[in-house]
């Protein structure tokens, strides 16, 4: 008897073998190493670490290799591993003024203390395919100025804030940091939880929502106060020591978006903020996140929330690509029992409709 989508252990085993075979591809082509993925597909690694909520370049590279470059699948692999890891606690908040910035720009001022640093960016590349990359060859190293780790970079926002033109950042909440990966999201959510959700959220989804605000669906007149990318130290307070020690450095991209605000009954007109942060170098993600963060503050700032990007339930419930990918693709699972129930009813409804039509025709003929 032929029954679709049924199959035992053997079928699944064969499918897994085929998948592993496809993953390796032509055996005459050299196999990718994790180091190659980390070094030469670094931005893919950054995205997988960000949306996978796990800062580990080699694990992210492994996930990308295993997923054959499908980044959402790689994010899923990394998260499913991360969820089994024990929690030691929460780090101290990152201090991004201590960042050793490779790149730092502000679009609100011609020059800013600490200077504009262009760094490595695709922004000014001409998008012409570089056929010289098709042939392998050594590239000369680019000249760089020595990094100054002792020099603190003031935030552009802080300068505006001094004059009262920009709202201060939210006061530090000394309560225990909530963890979205350990507790269910309960709505309405606090801003820290919203930001956690957005940081894990799908880049494409946030990009589309951020873009929609620019096209008038919840516009908040954004300016890039500042984007910076570089290394920041991570500090942790071990219980047995009682004071903070530096446990390492991570690369992050931070976006401080400055937005117009007309003021309200109690607050004079001033600029407001949207915030974005991502692991590695991910400006598109950090900027989109900042736009959506600001849009989601509509209620708090007394603005009319009429657009999708301002709708907390809509945004937070659908931002996660691992959830979305799973639920969309679960339609591939057999649904033939439910479909059978529908068949039974549709046939019955059609029979009844046919009977009604015939009766009506008979009644008409008798008249």
């Amino acid at each position: 008897m032929y029954v679709a989508v049924k199959g035992g252990e053997t079928t699944i085993a064969h499918s897994l073998d085929l998948l592993a075979d496809k993953r390796r591809g032509d055996r005459d082509v050299a196999e990718l190493s994790l180091e190659q993925i980390d070094q030469q597909l670094g931005l893919a690694v950054d995205r997988v670490m960000t949306e996978g909520s796990c800062y580990d370049r080699s694990l992210a590279a492994l996930a990308i290799k295993q997923a054959r470059g499908d980044l959402i699948e790689a994010i899923f692999l990394l998260r499913a591993y991360r969820t089994t890891l024990p929690r030691f606690g929460a780090s101290e908040p990152l201090d991004t003024t201590r960042m050793v910035a490779e790149r730092r720009i502000s679009s609100t001022f011609k020059d800013v203390p600490g200077g504009q640093v262009l760094g490595p960016t695709y922004d000014y590349t001409h998008r012409l395919l570089d056929f010289s990359l098709a042939a392998s060859g050594e590239r000369p190293e680019a000249p760089t100025a020595p990094a100054d780790a002792t020099h603190a970079l003031p935030r552009v926002g802080d300068i505006l804030q001094r004059d009262g033109l920009l709202e201060p950042p939210p006061s530090r909440d000394d309560g225990e940091a909530r963890d979205l990966t350990r507790e269910p999201l309960v709505l309405p959510a606090s801003r820290p939880l919203r930001l956690q959700n957005l940081a894990r959220g799908d880049e494409g989804f946030l990009l589309a929502l951020g873009y929609s605000t620019q096209r008038g669906y919840g516009n908040n007149h954004p300016f890039v106060g500042e984007i910076r990318y570089g290394h920041v130290p991570v500090s942790f307070v071990p219980e047995e020591l009682g004071f903070a020690i530096e446990i390492g450095e991570i690369e992050v991209t931070e976006c401080d978006m400055v937005n117009q605000f007309v003021g309200s009954h109690d607050v004079p007109p001033q600029f407001t903020r949207g915030y974005g942060l991502a692991f590695g170098h991910a400006e598109r993600k950090a900027m989109a996140m900042a736009l959506v963060d600001r849009a989601l503050r509509a209620d708090e700032l007394g603005e009319a929330a009429t657009s999708p990007a301002q709708d907390e339930e809509f945004v937070l419930a659908h931002s996660d690509n691992v959830e979305g990918s799973g639920f969309v693709q679960h339609l591939k699972l057999p649904h033939y029992v439910d479909f059978q129930s529908e068949l039974v009813v549709v046939r019955m409804l059609r029979t009844e409709a046919e009977q009604r039509r015939e009766q009506a025709a008979l009644a008409q003929a008798a008249e």
Binding site: M1, Y2, V3, V5, K6, G7, G8, E9, T10, T11, I12, A13, H14, L16, D17, A20, Q66, F76, R79, A80, Y81, R82, T83, T84, P86, T181, R182, E183, P184, L185, V186, L187, P188, E313, A317, V322, E323, S325, G326, F327, V328, Q329, H330, L333, P334, H335, Y336, V337, D338, Q340, S341, E342, L343, V344, V345, M348, L349, E352
Partner: protein, 285 residues
């Protein structure tokens, strides 16, 4: 003949706790289950974890099973009533691997039955646990998409919107045309989604001697129906609840009482009807 053993591509199994989830997570899920049992039909939020299987493929049911399973348990997993559908095979294999548990296809032998879209035909007994995989736990979701709203509706037992939707179906079709995921009232208090089982199975939920646990992984909710709890399918006095019937009988075992799957067996559209519950069908042949 190629080697058909499944290659272990994950990190060493020894790196994982018994039943995959760590003990702290299991305790958290058990607390949610206890609360769910104490308040039948109420959706308890829980800190759902990322599982190594995709969301929408039974992660809620898997977490519930992982939290309650022990070495002495015997597990049965079905999808569409069948033990041999690919996803059922995959989940059963997962637990055989991470919980070294005995598995069975016989309903009567199982202590835990994880299911998607069906309730077994063989009546369940005291001590058995039926774990449902739930895609959308909120029965009012298609009528009201906002969680903040539906939570309030449940708190106030404000269920008029559901009655109206059933009434509209009668007005439009002459009958309640809802066929699966048919809403039920649990213990006279909460309207509950029975998960997308056909309404044919709804009567089996009523006062069942087995414990029913419902897990929704993506939506991070657990709810339950304790043994012997009244579960009533919503209806009207002049439009009483009724289940699907077939004029055919099972082509394999001849049953006229079970839920039948319809199969198209040739290019001319010839049809064959067989039991959806494979264990029930095999036991009668």
């Amino acid at each position: 003949m190629p080697d058909t053993t499944i290659q272990d591509t994950s990190p060493q199994d020894g790196a994982y706790n018994y039943g995959y989830l760590d003990e702290q997570t299991k305790r958290m899920i058990r607390r949610a289950i206890l609360k769910a049992v104490a308040v039948p039909g109420y959706q308890v939020p829980f800190g759902g974890r990322e599982m190594p299987l995709p969301y929408g493929w039974g992660t809620g049911g898997i977490q519930v099973t992982a939290a309650i399973i022990g070495r002495e348990d015997t597990l049965k997993v079905i999808d569409q009533g069948a033990d041999d559908t690919t996803n059922a095979v995959s989940i059963r294999r997962f637990f055989a691997r991470v919980a070294q548990v005995a598995t069975t296809t016989h309903t009567a032998e199982a202590t835990i039955i994880q299911t998607r879209h069906r309730v077994p035909e063989t009546p369940l007994t005291d001590g058995q646990i039926l774990v449902f995989q739930v895609p959308i736990p909120e029965p009012l979701r298609m009528l009201e998409p906002r969680e903040t709203e539906t939570r309030t509706l449940h708190a106030l037992s404000e269920y008029g919107v559901m009655q109206v939707s059933l009434y509209e179906s009668i007005a439009r079709h002459g009958r309640i045309a809802k066929t699966y995921n048919y809403p039920v009232m649990v213990n006279g208090r909460y309207i509950m989604s029975p998960s997308p089982i056909p309404k044919f199975d709804n009567p089996k939920l009523d006062r069942s001697p087995a414990l029913q646990l419902y897990g929704a992984g993506r939506e991070k909710r657990i709810y339950a129906v304790p043994p012997h709890t009244p579960v009533k399918s919503l209806d009207f006095d002049d439009h009483p609840f009724e289940i699907e019937t077939w004029t055919e009988s099972c082509a394999l075992c001849g049953s006229t009482e079970s839920f039948l799957d319809e199969m198209i067996v040739d290019d001319t559209g010839k049809r064959l009807f067989v039991c959806s519950d494979t264990d029930y069908c095999e036991s009668r042949r």
